[in-house]
């Protein structure tokens, strides 16, 4: 009977190990759950919506790769003549009713399904580089920027400490404050600030960062115009422009030179880097996300076809992890009937 003791000990050690791996105790690291918990407590989270970039609009269109694209990657998206796409434009906060002029950050996400059964999901933003070099620094920045309940304002001392520890954040803050904003999503450039590895048919790898560059000319809005604009002016403008004709972006990849920061999305690569236009994205129409096909897609930037792989950029991996938690939580809310937005017609939301 004394031997029950080692048996109990073995089981206890195994159970403790499992609980530790699963983050039940002793995990002081930042986790995607902690990031999403924080996101939910800041701003105006609504059930059934994304934990960030909650406000959005779905779009549909096509992607057509250029003839030279196939020399960069063996992925079918670089050779299939025309690919139907679904996507989503978004504003960065977690308030699904935020006015379009409130945030300098606009997002574009695209899903490409190719005829070989593979899939490529792309998530880009209007900023030219990411706010921070790591998810930990990004989280620290968000925490320092959260208003103190006592004063209603963020504590400047906290932000000062974060900036001292993560000086790259200052460049992002300067961009957010002063970069001119265009009057239309159709004339906004979107950048996938993380690096990816393209592998061609011969097995050669290239590290790249991609962007969607609009054909519609950039027209800047003054701060006064932004303030005066209606809460949904970007979506209204999008519908107006699409009614008149399609909107087109060129997808361009910037190819890294030796020594370029591959794993730090807060550092832009020099504009003089070799570039290649790999395709054109043509948007044909838009529809509200409440019933649109983009609502229930997790635009996880690490859903990639063979021929494209993620770099070791920690922000890229953290985005994938955090989006997954956000998706699980909002789909669970929708499943439980707790969503603040209507579910698709005939009860089968997409």
């Amino acid at each position: 009977m004394l031997l029950l003791l080692p048996i109990a000990l073995i089981l206890a050690v195994l159970a403790a190990l499992f609980a530790w791996v699963g983050g039940w105790f002793g995990n002081d690291n930042l986790t995607p759950q902690k990031m999403m918990d924080f996101a939910e407590t800041s701003g105006k989270q609504a059930a059934g919506f994304r934990r960030a970039h909650s406000k959005g609009v779905c779009f549909a269109g096509t992607f057509a790769p250029t003839p030279e694209a196939a020399s960069l990657s063996k992925a079918r998206a670089f050779s299939q003549p025309s690919i139907a796409v679904i996507g989503r434009f978004s504003a960065s906060s977690n308030n699904p009713y935020a006015p379009d002029g409130a945030s300098p950050v606009r997002g574009m996400a695209v899903q490409l399904k190719t005829d070989d059964g593979q899939e490529w999901r792309i998530a880009m933003n209007s900023f030219p580089f990411f706010a921070a070099a790591t998810p930990q620094a990004f989280q620290a920045m968000n925490e320092a920027g959260k208003p103190d309940p006592a004063t209603g304002k963020p504590d400047p001392a906290k932000m000062k400490a974060v900036l001292a520890a993560h000086p790259e954040i200052a460049a992002f803050q300067a961009w957010a404050k002063s970069a001119p904003r265009s009057d239309s999503l159709g004339s906004t450039r979107f950048n996938g600030v993380n690096a990816f590895r393209l592998t061609d048919a011969g097995g050669t790898d290239r590290m790249v960062r991609w962007s969607m560059r609009p054909r519609a000319p950039f027209v800047a809005m003054t701060p006064d115009q932004l303030k005066a604009a209606g809460p949904d002016f970007l979506i209204e403008d999008l519908n107006r422009r699409l009614a008149a004709g399609p909107l087109v972006w060129d997808m361009v990849v910037q190819i890294a030179a030796p020594g370029d920061p591959i794993t730090d999305p807060s550092q832009a690569w020099p504009d003089t880097r070799q570039e290649a236009t790999i395709g054109t994205l043509t948007l044909a129409h838009a529809e509200p996300q409440a019933n649109g096909p983009c609502r229930d897609i997790n635009f996880d930037p690490l859903i990639l076809p063979d021929g494209i792989a993620g770099s070791d950029d920690p922000v890229l991996h953290a985005r994938s992890a955090a989006y997954s938690v956000s998706f699980n939580r909002r789909e669970r809310e929708i499943s439980a009937g707790k969503t603040a937005q209507p579910i698709g017609q005939n009860g089968s939301a997409r």
């Binding site: 986790t31 955090a322 789909e331 669970r332």
Partner: protein, 178 residues
């Protein structure tokens, strides 16, 4: 009925290899959902390993149902006999259900289901937030149930080996001597 003294070689090979695979799977699953940096890599391992476990579990179930198995000790209390049978069928149910739920859950979530080298599995359910929102938490909850059942199974096996010192542990650990 002529019952063997040990499980057959196929049963033993499947038991011990799947023990390693399922435990690895549970730890990978528990770790990947809280990892900021390694989720994608662990998920790339989790999907094909899950499908491999599903295929092995089918072979194992067929072998289990078509071959005679060793008897439990005649003097084992009825409650322990019941616990032994119930926990074994729970283990079979979970090792078959977990990969199927994982596959169904990814289908309902609108996710692609890559195995390796560009090979994908087809969706087995339509894209539906209602279904995904139900299956995703179920997959996590049943994983914890499977882990607890494995702990109970391990504890019982060691109890037979060290405390009762009966033939039960040897039935799975050893073959018939020539």
């Amino acid at each position: 009925m002529n019952r063997p003294r040990h499980f057959n070689l196929l049963a033993r090979v499947l038991h011990w290899s799947m023990a390693v695979a399922i435990l690895a799977m549970l730890f990978v699953g528990a770790g990947m959902v809280v990892s900021l940096q390694y989720r994608a890599q662990l998920l790339d391992l989790h999907r094909p390993l899950g499908i491999a476990i599903l295929l092995l579990a089918i072979v194992r179930l067929v072998n289990r149902l078509s071959r005679p198995v060793p008897a439990l000790p005649a003097d084992l209390p009825a409650i322990q006999k019941f616990a032994a049978h119930a926990s074994h069928w729970l283990l079979y149910g979970l090792m078959l259900a977990m990969p199927v739920i994982g596959w169904a859950m990814l289908s309902a979530g609108g996710y692609p289901i890559p195995m390796f080298g560009g090979v994908h599995l087809p969706a087995i359910l339509p894209h539906s937030p209602e279904t995904y929102g139900f299956l995703r938490p179920l997959h996590g909850a049943l994983a914890y149930l499977l882990f607890l059942t494995i702990l109970a199974h391990l504890g019982a096996a060691l109890y037979h080996a060290w405390v009762r010192r009966d033939e039960v542990f040897g039935q799975m650990a050893k073959g018939d001597s020539p």
